[in-house]
Structure formats: structure tokens, C-alpha cells
């Protein structure tokens, strides 16, 4: 057992392998607090590997989503307004609950009605909500639908979507690695969700911090990053760590661990020590 000795961010510094002792799936609750910019196509394509209401995009669990789209139709009901929206990549129904809206933020009590008035058919709006699935049909429940007033926001949103997608699938750009303990760390926390089972926030925080200071190539996978950070934080191991031990302490499956270790070896940031199964990192 070992503590991560850095990056106890996010208020959840669990011991990495102490999952049995912590309550209620830390990975999932961590993902619940994330907000990711997405296209509607990504929402419709999102996978549900665990159950019908846990959505995964690019192997990363989704908490809240935000998108910019045009309103196709509006139907007002007793308790909610339903907006049918499309952004050029797909269309989805957005359910806007009044009660929830009132209780959400207190400073928008007065201009609520005028804000709704700005939401007309065919106008662009920014939605912030969460994905729900009912009878195999996905929709969004939300407490925030706001009209877009500066159309640069539309372009900005789609570029942000692309940047976040690339961050998760290829890692942060080199220029950002230096500050990945801060900014990138936020994304890394989202990453924690995807390895859901027993990934702790402390662990991913450490991953962010470590990869920030080193020369991990940009294309490296999240698992490999995590393992690298883990090895990096063990100061006692000049002889390296056994692959099985890595898998056990990081909570990554054996198969995935071998893959990730292979990646690290190929990239020359780690090397094998006394036998092929003991791995240490290069810049100890």
C-alpha cells in the first residue's frame, strides 16, 4: 500500500487501494461534478457501459454537459418547458424544469421571465444539463437554457468540444503540460471517472502534477499517464515495480496495465529492470 504523496486536490484524497473502506463509488461521484462541452451527436453516441444512466464519452464518464444549439420547437407544460434543439450534429429534447430553476440560483429571480422570452424558435441557446435516458430515448434535463447573444460563442463551443475530445483521446498538448496540475488537472479528474471502480481523486491529481513536470509525449493514454505518475511517486524503488503490483495498486486491469506499460516502454520513458515484468521510470 502506498499513498500518493502529491496532488490531494478535489477534497478526495483516498488511499488508492482502499476502495473497500470508502463508501459509494468515489469514481462516479467525482464524475458527477464535471461539466463537459459536447455536441449533440456525442450525447446520442455516448455509451452506457454500467447502467442506463451512466454515460461515457471517449472512455470518460460524463457528469453534466453543456452545448450550444438552435431551438426547433418549444412546448410549455405545467412543470417544464421542452425544447427540441439541434446543433447541426443531431437533435435532442431538452426538458427545462421551472421548480429546479427557481431553487438553483437566487440572483436570477427577476429576469427569469425575460430570459425565457429571449428563447425563441430558431435562435441559438446555451444549455447546461445532464443526460437522461428513458425508454431508449435520450434527453437532457436542465436548469439553465440561455440565449446566445454573441455568435462567436457558437464557434467557441465547437472548438472547445474538439479540444476536450482531443485532450481525452490524445492527452494534453505539450505546451499545456507544465500547468496540467492546475488546468489539466480538472480534466484529469474527469478521467478518474472512467476507471471508475477504485480510482481516487488523489491519484489522478498526482498524475496531473507529475506529467506536468516531465516529458510524457502528448499521445500517451490516460492509463499510461496514471501508471507513470504512480511509479514516479515511489521513491523507494530503484529495482522497479512488478506489473501485477502496478495493476493492483492503480486499480487498472492486468490487460490494460500491460498495454499501458508497453506504451511507456515504447516511448522510452520507462524501462524494465531485473526482469521483463519489473518496470521503473526513466528520470528517477
Amino acid at each position: 500500500m502506498s499513498y500518493y504523496d502529491g496532488g490531494y486536490g478535489g477534497g478526495a484524497g483516498y488511499m488508492n487501494d482502499s476502495q473497500g473502506g470508502t463508501q459509494a463509488t468515489p469514481g462516479r461521484s467525482a464524475a458527477k461534478n464535471t461539466l463537459r462541452p459536447v455536441t449533440i451527436k456525442q450525447i446520442l453516441d455516448a455509451q452506457t457501459p454500467h447502467d442506463d444512466n451512466t454515460f461515457v464519452i471517449d472512455d470518460v464518464e460524463i457528469g453534466h454537459v453543456t452545448f450550444v444549439a438552435q431551438i426547433l420547437s418549444i412546448s410549455d407544460q405545467e412543470t417544464n418547458s421542452t425544447y427540441k434543439m439541434e446543433d447541426g450534429t443531431g437533435s435532442i429534447e431538452v426538458k427545462f424544469f421551472r421548480g429546479e430553476r427557481n431553487s438553483m440560483v437566487d440572483d436570477d429571480g427577476e429576469n427569469e421571465s425575460s430570459r425565457e422570452a429571449g428563447l425563441q424558435i430558431n435562435t441559438y441557446a446555451r444549455v447546461l444539463g445532464s443526460i437522461k435516458q428513458f425508454n431508449n430515448k435520450r434527453n437532457i434535463t436542465t436548469h439553465s437554457v440561455k440565449p446566445v447573444t454573441d455568435f462567436n460563442e457558437v464557434q467557441c463551443h465547437f472548438l472547445e468540444v474538439t479540444a476536450v475530445h482531443l485532450h481525452f483521446t490524445r492527452g494534453p498538448p505539450e505546451s499545456q503540460q507544465g500547468r496540467s496540475a492546475g488546468g489539466g488537472g480538472a480534466y484529469q479528474h474527469g478521467g478518474a471517472g472512467s476507471y471508475g471502480e477504485d480510482t481516487a481523486m488523489g491519484g489522478t491529481g498526482a498524475a496531473g502534477a507529475v506529467s506536468g513536470g516531465t516529458m510524457l509525449p502528448p499521445g500517451i493514454s490516460a492509463n499510461a499517464r496514471k501508471i507513470y505518475a504512480h511509479l514516479k511517486n515511489r521513491h523507494d524503488s530503484s529495482e522497479g515495480m512488478h506489473v501485477a503490483m502496478i495493476a493492483q495498486t492503480t486499480g487498472i486491469s492486468m490487460g490494460e496495465t500491460y498495454k499501458a506499460v508497453d506504451e511507456l516502454l515504447t516511448n522510452g520513458v520507462c524501462f524494465t529492470t531485473m526482469d521483463d515484468e519489473h518496470i521503473a521510470c526513466m528520470d528517477f
Partner: protein, 109 residues
């Protein structure tokens, strides 16, 4: 689902989408009766709809429409984005759309 997809294109992508619906944003160059031309990294002719929002030369507009055989676009709907929209960002979105297509549209078979 893909019925609702309107990939964002510029003038050079238009020919890849003949017969399909697309979104194209650009600066209005000319308006003549029921046709207009916009600059979207190249000039594109738009066949205006009766309810068009393309009214001001110099403004940036986004047109949703069907690509005709002659590469002109028959407008279905348009939005006036006003004069102060960053054209380079529009072009960047077009490039991202086609480079990382999995985020934006399904290829027509």
C-alpha cells in the same frame, strides 16, 4: 438521426455534399432579388428562401440549405450573426468538423 445533421462546410467542401443539407457561414457579398453570394473561404451562391434572414451586405450569416447540382445552395433557413463575428473561428470549426468527423456527423453511405 442523421436526417438532422447539417455538417458545417466552407466553399471548398460544398462539392462533397451535393444533394445534402449543410450549414455554411460567411460574409454576405451581394444580394440580388432572390439570390445572394457569400464569402466562405470562396464565393458561394445562395438561392434565397422567402423568409430569409440574409438582408444586410457585410454581415456574417449562417445558412442551412441543400447543395444543388451546380454547387449553389438552396436556403432552408438562415441566421444573421451580425458584423462582429470572427471569420477565422468559423473556418477553424469547419476544419475541426471534417478532421474530427466522429464528433460532428456520420458519413452518408
Amino acid at each position: 438521426m442523421s436526417d438532422h445533421q447539417t455538417p458545417r462546410v466552407n466553399a471548398s467542401y460544398v462539392s462533397n455534399f451535393t444533394g445534402q443539407n449543410v450549414r455554411i457561414a460567411g460574409k454576405v457579398l451581394q444580394i440580388h432579388g432572390n439570390s445572394a453570394t457569400i464569402d466562405a473561404q470562396g464565393t458561394v451562391a445562395i438561392q434565397l428562401d422567402a423568409g430569409t434572414h440574409i438582408k444586410t451586405v457585410g454581415n456574417v450569416v449562417e445558412v442551412i440549405g441543400k447543395v444543388n447540382g451546380d454547387q449553389s445552395i438552396k436556403e432552408l433557413f438562415s441566421s444573421d450573426f451580425g458584423p462582429n463575428v470572427e471569420l477565422s473561428a468559423i473556418e477553424a470549426v469547419v476544419q475541426a468538423t471534417h478532421t474530427y468527423r466522429e464528433l460532428f456527423y456520420d458519413a452518408k453511405q
